[in-house]
Amino acid sequence: MEILYKLFQGFSTLALSDPLISFTRVGLIFLGLLLVYLGKKGILEPLLMIPMGLGMATINASIMFMPDGTQGNIFVDPMVTDVNQLINILQIDWLQPIYTYMFSNGLIACFIFMGIGGMIDISYILVRPFSSMTLALFAELGTFATIPVAMAMGLNLNESASIAMVGGADGPMVLYTSLMLAKDLFVPITVVAYLYLGLTYGGYPYLIRLLVPKKLRGIQVTYSKPPKPISQSMKLAAAVILCVVLCFLFPVASPLFFSLFIGIAIRESGLTHILEFIEGPLLYGSTFLLGILLGILCEAHLLLNPKILTLLVLGIIALLFSGIGGILGGYVMFFIKKGNFNPAIGCAGVSCVPSTAKVVQKEVSKINPNAIVLQEALGANIMGVITTAIIAGLFITLIPLFK
């Protein structure tokens, strides 16, 4: 029997563990398989969910007995803090180098931001900065409204601010903020954030249908005169100046600002071969590795934190409030522009580039196939990224002062 236990350690650790751990492991294996299925079906983002789901299922199946008799794995140990121990683990756990040198210092978040920067066109925010910014600011309602709720549910201020960042719907930003403010909880917070960001795509259409009547949802925004043409040089100059100004304002968030604006700068400077690299291999490679790591970090021992259920509830509250706030911003613009604005566009203020913008366009097209609101929605989307980075800077600087 002992030989069998040693031979099939995945099963023996399951049998010899605390029942709660065993049930959680089995549950996470099935959840992982479900994520792969939903990713394949296109209901959730496949690029992230397939590696994440398979990682989640694999890590919970691969628990084994370590030489010291404890249960563990040979993938990654995120809880190691001692430098000597870390050096040893770097030579054993195959994903530890990626975790230590890319994930836990925010490098992977910056790489993803570079890729996002390479994909976005800042023309619209240059032409109509105020309307885009208004929508983005309203769409941050969830980021702020969730903090008191989280504190009422027993989290401390740093943890509350970190989970509230889910309201900004920007994965790299949640990763970065929780790393700075709540290092103990940054693994579950990041996992919750990415799980929910996949759900945003499926949940927001219902929110738009609920809060924006059909008559208003089909509005095509019109302009009295066409915008002045913007050259690539103008966009490059604007990106460079904005980057420097924002880094001056928030040095703590400067890695994120730099990463975003270097992507925009490369796009607008016509360096096509570099652009192909950052929006192709770099972005997709980083997202793929992030998916694997997030899945591997969903190990039962790590996730069985009493706060995880609270984080799951708070993540939904944050995204829900942000969506409502964004649509509220859409109504504000509707009244300011005397009816010449589609309130549904507000939902795109929740950054999550470009998913929410596509969701808005899809919902508007269902009512009025001739209405094109993608430009306005992408403007709000991009401003959402900048606003979330500003809030990350404010939180990292100010929240520790309020203790």
Partner: protein, 61 residues
């Protein structure tokens, strides 16, 4: 209660910074596209050409 006040303060600050950033973007856009407004129109360029022609005409000896 104090926390809610502080959170509202940060939200207000975010609005102020966000609108200031929009102001900077608007200023950049206006400055960068301003040269379009001093473009010479066809009529102006025609009269300018005539003026230059007159200026360059050599006086008849």
């Amino acid at each position: 209660m104090n926390i809610i006040y502080n959170i509202m303060l940060i939200y207000g600050l975010t609005f102020a910074i966000g609108l200031a950033v929009s102001g900077i973007i608007w200023l950049l856009y206006t400055t960068m596209t301003a040269k379009d407004s001093i473009k010479i129109t066809h009529r102006e360029s025609y009269s300018e050409m005539k003026r230059l022609k007159r200026k360059n005409v050599k006086p008849v000896q």
